[in-house]
Amino acid sequence: MIKFLLRRIAMIIPTFIGMTLLTFALIHLVPGDPVELIAGERGITPARHAVLRSELGLDKPLLVQYGNYIWGIFHGNLGKSIVTKQPVFKEFMTLFPATMELSFFAMIFAVTLGLPAGIIAGVKRGTFFDHSVMGLSLAGYSMPIFWWGLLLILFFSVFLGWTPVSGRLSALFWIDADTGFMLIDALKSDEKGTFVSAMRHLILPSIVLGTIPLAVIARMTRSAMLEVLTEDYVRTARAKGLSPLRVIMVHALRNALIPVITVIGLQTGVLLAGAILTETIFAWPGVGKWIVESINRRDYPAVQGGILLISSLVILVNLAVDMLYGVVNPRIRHNK
């Protein structure tokens, strides 16, 4: 197990270096100049332009800039945002709890509905329920997020008035963002009703963000179940006279879970990095939206740092998923 872990960590290092190189190269390949964007229509004289570029360190050769960037990373310094002048790591850590909270609830939503739906659809193959689950998951998978989000807002928030339109907390509550996790901060607050308000604000974004993972998990669970249910050991278990519930939950599901866990792991990565549209629709102050805005403003340090941190997290989640295989299925041993 430890050997496997070390081997995996060793593999992370080249991935990590490749990632920094790719992010750096891509953002610098995109045309555009942060200094011109700062000046806008007013324009800027060439002398002032040169001064500003030099102050931002953009006048140095790209290789030197990359070297400085890597040097900074090894010293725990991701640089300062060109726009806000704040350390990139600090900005990321301010926004990341919001993304994590949303991703967590979206995943809970996707797993609690997707897993049972997939199992039942697999077991009751060819029935109306199976067709419905497959049809709905296909629809969920192909749904444009922007349209889906606005539709839910119009129906639940504007027409029925059940849920708030956007944001993380009602404007009535003035609480301190100590942890950045709104539910925890709300619980810590003395103001009555804060927690409920925070929960209400989570409902629609979690549904919208969780829709695609829900569809993927349901479909993957169904097909894994179908495959496992035809295995000899399932037939043997049934022949032994075990209850159908025990056959499905203990003998079939446990084996079917391996590909499902892989998918859940991959989807978690997607959620962390890909919540951009959901964050924009629901005015959710997360890292996805921040990175997109930084790209538009050519805020190089923010883009590089943000993508680096997100990618590192995705790598870690995948590592954790690999570790989980052994827990779910003892036949998979990592100590070879």
């Binding site: 000046a39 229509e41 007013r42 324009g43 209400r200």
Partner: protein, 530 residues
Amino acid sequence: MKRLCIMLLCAFAVIALAGVNVDAKTCVYCSEGSPEGFNPAFYTAGTTFDASSRPMFDRLVLFELGTTKTIPGLAEKWAISPDGKTYTFYLRKGVKFHTTKNFTPTRDFNADDVIFTFERQRDKNHPYHKVSGGNYEYFVSTGMAALIQNIEKKDDYTVVFHLIRPEAPFIATIAMDFASIFSAEYADKMMKAGTPQEVDLNPVGTGPYVLVQYQKDSTIRYEAHKQYWRGPAKIDKLVYSITPDASVRYAKLKAGECHVMPYPNPADLAQMAKEKDIKLMQMEGLNVGYLAFNTEKKPFDNIKVRQALSMAINKQAIIDAVFQGAGKIAKNPIPPTIWSYNDKVKDYPYDPVAAKKLLAEAGFPNGFETDIWAMPVQRPYNPNARRMAEIIQADWDKIGVKAKIVTYEWGEYLKRSKEGEHQTLLLGWTGDNGDPDNFLAVLLGCDAVGSANRARWCYKPFDDLIKQAKTTSDVAERTRLYEKAQVIFKEQAPWVTIAHSVVFKPMRNEVVNFKIDPFGGHVFYGVDIK
């Protein structure tokens, strides 16, 4: 399964129905984006000013809300020397700075605060000059850095600005956001504590609202400044709920989650006007959208070509198709809301036949090939540059001019056009201070070639007039000079002036006394909730 569904629905309903609505004296503004920071001297974006200079600060001179007229602010009055080079400001007494968790002021506003604010931006050796990056973009680009010779404190309530040359727009310029007055006492305290950047992160001003909390990309919370010198604001709590998507802002407005929203989708305006809970205010924007000819390049160095192409464009079709009615044809380079607007100027009529004839006289009977640069972004003065370029392309085609539409990424577009790579280009301008000089000199003066003068048009008779107007403090004389300059501009046609857009502000009916700011800002002092 059924039971699970019922339980989920019940839980959903309980949480949903436990909702609350916005309190009566809290005003929620669904702003379109996050401020870049809270020191207005560093930035140029309206979104940043809305969150910083407008609620939290005052300037020596203010703009009367809803107009471009300057009125006394932290300076009760001022005197200008006969040579126009010395401005003496007599400061208001009894003005209190905000009390925040970082700072409790021990004295009222005085001359030291004015000196600190301006010297920080002007003097490269000032201890605060380099703090927080130290890019004072407006101070530099409005020419203040080169204009102010020195600032003198006569006594605690008298400050004298000595200028290098007379500058008539000076009063309007120091009414701009970048000249917001900071507390020198707070700055000293933070410098001693070793945290000078706090002055910019958690600033202390004299304005109607005190910053309480900023959650990045989410909310900004302010409380009314109880000791505000113009009387406390009627709204106790002001919340900016940052909502980048216009459709979502509209949904929040309808659901009562916010009171005022900026920048509606043009396509939503008709529906908004029908809503019974929403009122739609409108005002002509302080802007101009134009097509600039690169007058340094052939054939646009020929006045007849420029005039012919001006005549060939059907501006009304652009107003209808691009602005969807939310715009007005522009004939002058300054909007009608600015003083000295010359209404006597006659615009070129839309006349393709006359245009073709004029083009033939200029030596191009069969037209020529050119390009039209179209901006890749939506701006207040041009909601859809691509569409506008297509209409112009079709219009010019009728007189034999074949135009290719070119576009670049926004930063690249600004850079290349500044360097004069284009032949014709679409762009525009939103005024900063309501002074005609802010349009005519900034966009069309000889000094601006290579920066904001994208037509690269340097015409001495015009330039002499605007330079003369800049050094004259007599408003009647300035008006006369600017009116004359506008006649020359029309005749020379370095631009086709296309439109002044109309700004719409949707808000809930319970909002009273909201005034649209011609500068595009959102000001909540004076606003009340019924």
